[in-house]
Symmetry: C2
Subunit: 194 residues, 2 copies
DNA sequence: ATAATAATTGAGACTACTCTCATTTTTATA
DNA sequence: TATAAAAATGAGAGTAGTCTCAATTATTAT
């Protein structure tokens, strides 16, 4: 089993450590089986705790899913923010952020898989991630790099193109050409003129 | 509950009629809850048969899902074939088929929902539907309507744009503008020159 | 070291299924 | 109508899960 949060130095109290063990266990199992098929029984066993202990940390089944999905989303957003490029060209910014996001999602497959899983369930989560897209798309339209009218549906389309790229690479292996083709499709949809 | 196959005149034998009742019941329940959460118990009850009767018709849980998914796919493919336009312009053919497919998938929401559900699970099913796309895309590239290189990933991208359109309209109501925006995005991805 | 507090434990009550099979009922056939 | 064949029944064995709680163990503060 891989560790994600358990290894963090900040975990002092017993409670924190147990919680981190549950989360790491959950990430591994959810990535393998999806939310629907992941059981508390298995998570507890995998985390090395008793079944009942789980309920000191989470109210119920749903809570752990929400927590895990949020943690992954936060980590992925962090990656995008940390790697924002300095250029003022919105198209370049969009390309960079998208590449970073795809790269990180497939580099740690568990994160990518859970993000895809969660994107299906929670609209909010997808919104968190698409924020960074929207900003660049809007300023690209403003400065006439993208010759389209802004539209929420357009953002959704671009978002699913990105999710599809992640899904494809998680299934068939990391492939930069696929990421490039993804960027191409996005720029075409946005009617990008250099 | 809506009837889909039960009402067909061709159902003579008791066995056929019971089977159709199971399928109709399954369609209604799967459309509401998805494959994962649909139980045989509920399907049997909903179909007005005893639990054990189900197993005279289907080996197990998985079999009914496969059967339902295939039936829906067959119906949807039929719709596309019946509505093929006579024109020789591949772009026009592609636009027409795509519109028809989206239209029918959202017109009978149960079909659309199950198709989306099944597309997630079964690669084969998505292939069945994308066949009609591939034909038109290839001939469009051949006659230089689409200025791109053919590529399986490209077809996948177009397919998910279509699925997303269906999913959006099933959630927010039928909307022709959304279908138009979908067609636009597809033509842009294909680098369509009139 | 002791008491108080926090965390963990695992048995078990409860629910919700899947699938089997001996029996009964219905339908088709002679 | 009597018989054979087909179909349907539903009780129940088996499995897998969620969540609770009284008892136990570990941790922290005095």
């Amino acid at each position: 089993m891989n560790d994600y949060f358990q290894s963090k130095a900040s975990l002092q109290s017993k409670k924190d450590r147990t919680r981190a063990a549950i989360i790491d266990s959950a990430i591994n199992i959810i990535a393998k089986k999806g939310f629907q098929k992941s059981s508390i029984q298995e998570m507890a066993k995998n985390a090395g705790i008793a079944n009942g202990t789980f309920y000191n940390h989470y109210k119920d089944r749903k809570s752990i899913f929400e927590d895990v999905a949020n943690l992954i989303a936060i980590e992925l957003v962090k990656v995008i923010e940390e790697n924002e490029v300095k250029t003022k060209k919105p198209a370049q910014k969009l390309i960079n952020s998208t590449k970073q996001f795809i790269k990180r999602s497939v580099q740690v497959p568990e994160w990518g898989l859970i993000f895809l899983e969660a994107a299906d369930f929670s609209v909010r989560l997808e919104k968190d991630i698409s924020k960074f897209l929207i900003k660049d798309i809007k300023s690209g339209i403003r400065d006439k790099s993208f010759l389209v009218k802004y539209d929420d549906f357009l953002v959704e389309q671009i978002m699913i193109i990105v999710l599809h790229s992640i899904s494809h690479q998680l299934e068939n292996g990391i492939n930069k050409q696929i990421t490039d083709k993804t960027i191409n499709a996005i720029l075409r949809i946005l009617n990008y003129k250099k």
